[in-house]
Amino acid sequence: MTQVRTVILDNGAVQALADPTHRKHRRVMAIVEVVAARNLRRAGSVRLVVPTAVRVEAGWNRRAAGAATLNRLRVDDHPLDAGAADRASDVRSALAVPVADAHLAAVLATSAGPHAVLTSDAEDLRRIADHLGIPLQPITL
């Protein structure tokens, strides 16, 4: 059992986080609370990350007025740059997963571990983690 360094949000987690009336909002806020408490105890110890392809899928435009709450929660973008696109493309070819999940795989491969992923589809994530050979703690919403 080790403390995670990176917590990644998938589409379902973003949807729940964005809407205080969402039935899973409190559950996602509990995860954010854990991250915040650990960062207060030891600054920079855990990052909340969203792959930008997940933002596209979730309709999270940081410049939209309705995104104010989400924008303030200190969730870092992981951009789909050239390197991430190459890695995501490999994963998509191998596993036939959606683009957002393939980008999430690229984040797993390049960010500090251990990782936890807040997801509504743990099975796909396990396939991705197995493919990459990366230990992963999926948290099903």
Binding site: T2, A30, E33, A37, N39, A43, G44
Partner: protein, 134 residues
């Protein structure tokens, strides 16, 4: 408070291309340790280490303040101690995540033993409960 928080967030999110020289008093041991770390290639410079530490500390303060502001606007969004402790168990793969009833009981009982208990207090107490029941 809200205006100050928004100002803090805006400053943290701005590009930060402009720099300014400033005088900061550092403990000698930390200054020397930073120079050694830079010499080992672990950091670019004392300035880079100082900036990184400052940013991470400010980000942590901002994250806490944002959560408190969110709960002030949406009180029902605030997870209780048991929910936070369970979330901590889940993200770390702690086996206690599989026994939410034990964590909930621990959260309820630890409040009688300690003021302002943390998620770690709850998980430690829950581990004791689980061990006693085994």
């Amino acid at each position: 408070m809200e205006r100050q928080l928004q100002r803090l967030l805006d400053l943290l999110d701005s590009p930060g291309d402009d720099t300014v020289g400033t005088s900061v008093r550092l403990p000698v041991n930390l200054r020397d340790a930073a120079a050694v770390a830079a010499g080992m290639g672990l950091a670019a410079s004392t300035t880079e280490l100082t900036v990184r530490g400052l940013r991470e500390a400010l980000e942590a303060f901002a994250q806490r303040a944002v959560l408190d502001a969110h709960y002030a606007a949406h009180p029902k969004a605030r997870p209780d101690l048991a929910e936070v402790a369970l979330a901590a168990a889940e993200i770390d793969g702690n086996p206690l995540a599989g026994t939410p009833e034990v964590v909930r009981r621990a959260a309820a009982e630890v409040r009688d033993l300690k003021d302002d208990p943390t998620q770690d207090d709850v998980l430690l107490y829950a581990a004791g409960l689980a061990a006693a029941a085994a």
